[in-house]
Amino acid sequence: MVKAKIATTSLAGCFGCHMSILDIDERILKLAELVEFDKSPINDIKRFSGQCDVGLIEGGCCNHENVEVLRAFRKRCNILVSVGECALMGGLPALRNGIPMTECLKEAYLDGPSVVDGSIPNDPELPLILDKVYPCHEVVKIDYFLPGCPPSADLIWESLVGLLTGREADLPYELIKYD
């Protein structure tokens, strides 16, 4: 049997959703039977080896690099899943959306109480920050959404197994939570 290929990434997230993926505990052995991990921080593979079946996206888009990675995932993954509140609605990073960019950067790098001789970072190697944090589905087409902060391991497991085996996922009421 050809194993399904799965890729994951964390954009403007905290890696909590990836922790929740690992939280499936010993079921990870069964997952290893079902899938082969492609580009993912879990195996530290940096580049796509080819077309993947499922892509899991943690975090929203706060800078140009996030957008580029997300677009690459859309191109390389047949099914793209937004995992967690940040991917779904921006989450904590989106708290800056109501604050003008200049004010944000000044507070962080110039006027903050702990800043000494501050300057706003402007290295060409740094990805440019976006005007606001965008939910992933406002940047590319997303096929499925797993809410939660983080989504529980059971929700991730049930959904993933559903996707990989082609049966409708059995998601009891208690699994779908926004916190």
């Binding site: 937004s82 509140e85 779904l88 609605m89 921006g90 989450g91 904590l92 989106a94 708290l95 959306n97 109501g98 606001k132 939910p135 589905h137 406002e138 997303i142 499925y144 959404f145 797993l146 809410p147 902060c149 009421y173 208690e174 779908i176 939570k177 926004y178 916190d179």
Partner: protein, 237 residues
């Protein structure tokens, strides 16, 4: 005239009392019609339209329409479910609802409705509006970010607390709840025990120093969907 009103709800024969709204009669028959701006202690507001049902082929708000003899009512059609989902999704994108750290999470009626309606993500783009926080009062604050303009607090202040200290300003998408004083909440007589504070369905009106007391797993909507208590009233068939 008979004091019993007979109507059909999802094909099931139900009875109501004169003067009851469709929503109240449905509650008595153990049928839960999703609702948000309605509160049993207050006059119906009819503003959120989440309780829209199909009555004899037309859609109407169940909280403001009196139940009448011979009504044929549909509640759980796919069309109505989608309409309700769209309404709740619009409330989510129109405000700043950060469930992960909200004090009300787990006890929030907006969130619970979204759970019940199985909303995984809103179909509309987020607006991330600029909303204000009134933190002038020592015991209570109003967070405009989370307000859904249901008007429960305004009605409760008038009808139950008998002190119209809260009101609406602005119109349409710019409508906001505001305390009736230039000093904000600090300038009005309001306390944690007031009905206007307790009826808030979301995390907009919060009593300070009461947050996060209930652990996850023990909050109101952690295990049972909103409306389960009403559905439990259904007579055994």
């Amino acid at each position: 005239m008979s004091d019993k009103i007979k109507f059909l709800m999802e094909g099931k024969e139900c009875t109501g009392k004169p003067g009851q709204s469709i929503l109240q009669a449905a509650d008595d028959n153990g049928v839960y019609i999703p609702r948000l701006c309605y509160h049993p202690d207050l006059k119906p507001g009819g503003s959120c339209r989440v309780c829209t049902v199909n009555v004899n082929g037309r859609n109407m708000a169940a909280c403001t329409t009196p139940v009448a003899d011979g009504m044929v009512i549909l509640n759980e059609t796919e069309e109505l479910r989608d309409l309700r989902r769209a309404l709740v999704e619009m409330l989510f994108i129109e405000g700043n609802h950060y469930c992960p750290f909200c004090e009300k999470s787990g006890n929030c009626e907006l969130q619970a409705l979204a759970y019940r309606l199985k909303i995984m993500a809103p179909r509309f783009p987020y607006m991330f509006p600029e909303r204000k926080l009134d933190a002038t009062h020592p015991a209570i604050f109003i967070d405009g970010n989370r307000c859904i303009q249901c008007g429960r607090c305004v009605r409760a202040a008038e009808e139950v607390d008998h002190k119209p200290i809260l009101g609406f300003i602005g119109r349409g998408v710019a409508m906001r709840i505001k305390a009736g004083s230039s000093k904000g909440l600090a300038g009005v007589e309001i306390g944690p025990e007031d009905a206007c504070v307790k009826v808030c369905p979301v995390g907009s009106i919060i009593v300070r120093e009461t947050a996060y007391r209930t652990p996850i797993g023990k909050r109101t909507y952690d295990h049972q969907p909103i409306g389960s208590d009403i559905e439990a009233r259904a007579p055994e068939s």
